[in-house]
Symmetry: C2
């Protein structure tokens, strides 16, 4: 039992309350190497302390996309630990140390992270499949929801294709760990989301596009600050 | 991997942002029977919907203690589902359907929940050991913290004994799932808490009592409403 007590992998889900962002700490227990997915600037000290207490060396900070609602902790963590900052290939931000494209893998000892290109929320979004058992879905797929598609080159039809053709084709038992949650859920499965995600159930591609294009959401409070900062890897 | 995808047990951690409370949904996958530990009144509809989507029958609502910071969802869930409401023996609230004392077990198919009396935060607090692999520590032990001891018959010395003699004697790899978290942590282990919990590391019993008795915390905002409501099983 326990993604957390898997003999090979250590897995910790961490939450930033201000932006409702989930950060994921993943490590190989034997080699003591770790990566953080979607770290939040204001939580860097918490994350650094946890890495220290668990005896882990941070090798990578990995982003699912260029965020609009919070500033990444990547820049600060890179300064503090010497880790590499990695972003999806299409993000094309000059400050990143490396880029991942569809199907490319990142290895931490016996833990394998596979990039699955899932554009739509932004045009450079990747989800990450962890040892073929859990998928970090970023802002492509939330628990009973999905990311918005109305800025940062977002496109509702593209998101529909990413979710239905890339994520919903994973095995039903694959664990879904999203980039945000606003209702207190922590985890779901692909099977559950295929069956119960109200954004997708009973909507074809065109109906989804019409629905998403009429959400009329306010822009994220930090957007004007966060996007340019994240295009500089959080080096504000 | 995954407490969540254990073949026997389904395990979901749920969060109430207003009170920073964790509720736990635990079920036997074969028998489709579930229990909720520390449900929150305002989240009853979320929890009911999740039970429905997962095809689960709610058998029990179980409290770690009489809460002072939120009203339990037990009463409402009992009305909606016919589940039984269970509290620690020493809580002695007349509306409960049953009581658990030290060492008593509750069984859901092949999932076994064992009550571990851990008074100190309140005089009737129980932690719950789940299939000998995870401990739901309620407000006795938090991740790098612990519950306060300054009201509801709380007692710092008693809490020190509960944590050091009941919880810290569990195997190091036991997963710690707390009743609250205020910094975005979701899970820890007994080994980590023994080594890094700043409330206990480097403090003997007397030093812990002096520390706890000088915290001078404000009372919980909802205390005057929550405690009497919870003494009626949340039937407000």
């Amino acid at each position: 039992m326990g993604i957390t007590i898997d003999n090979i992998m250590l897995f910790r889900q961490l939450f930033d309350e201000e932006s409702s962002t989930y950060t994921y700490l993943i490590a190989d227990r034997t080699f003591k190497q770790a990566l953080l997915v979607d770290p939040v600037l204001e939580q860097v000290e918490r994350d650094r302390q946890l890495l220290h207490e668990l005896g882990l060396t941070l090798k990578y900070c990995l982003e699912t996309h260029i965020h609009a609602d919070h500033i990444t902790g990547m820049g600060k963590l890179r300064q503090m630990t010497g880790c590499l900052g990695i972003v999806p290939e299409n993000a094309q931000i000059a400050c990143a140390d490396d880029f991942l494209k569809q199907g490319e893998m990142l290895r931490l000892g016996n833990v394998i992270i596979e990039a699955i290109a899932t554009p739509g929320h932004t045009n450079s979004h990747c989800a990450y499949l962890v040892n073929q058992k859990a998928i970090l879905t970023g802002d492509a797929l939330f628990i009973r929801g999905c990311g918005r598609t109305d800025f940062q080159s977002g496109d509702a039809g593209t998101l529909y294709d990413s979710v239905t053709q890339q994520l919903f084709t994973l095995p039903d038992e694959t664990l879904v760990y999203p980039g945000h949650d606003y209702r207190g859920h922590t985890v779901s499965t692909i099977g559950e989301e295929k069956q119960y995600n109200p954004r997708f159930v009973g909507r074809d591609r065109l109906q989804f596009i019409i629905f998403m294009n009429n959400l009329n959401l306010a822009y994220p409070k930090k957007m004007m600050e966060a996007v340019p900062a994240n295009e500089k890897c959080g080096n504000i």
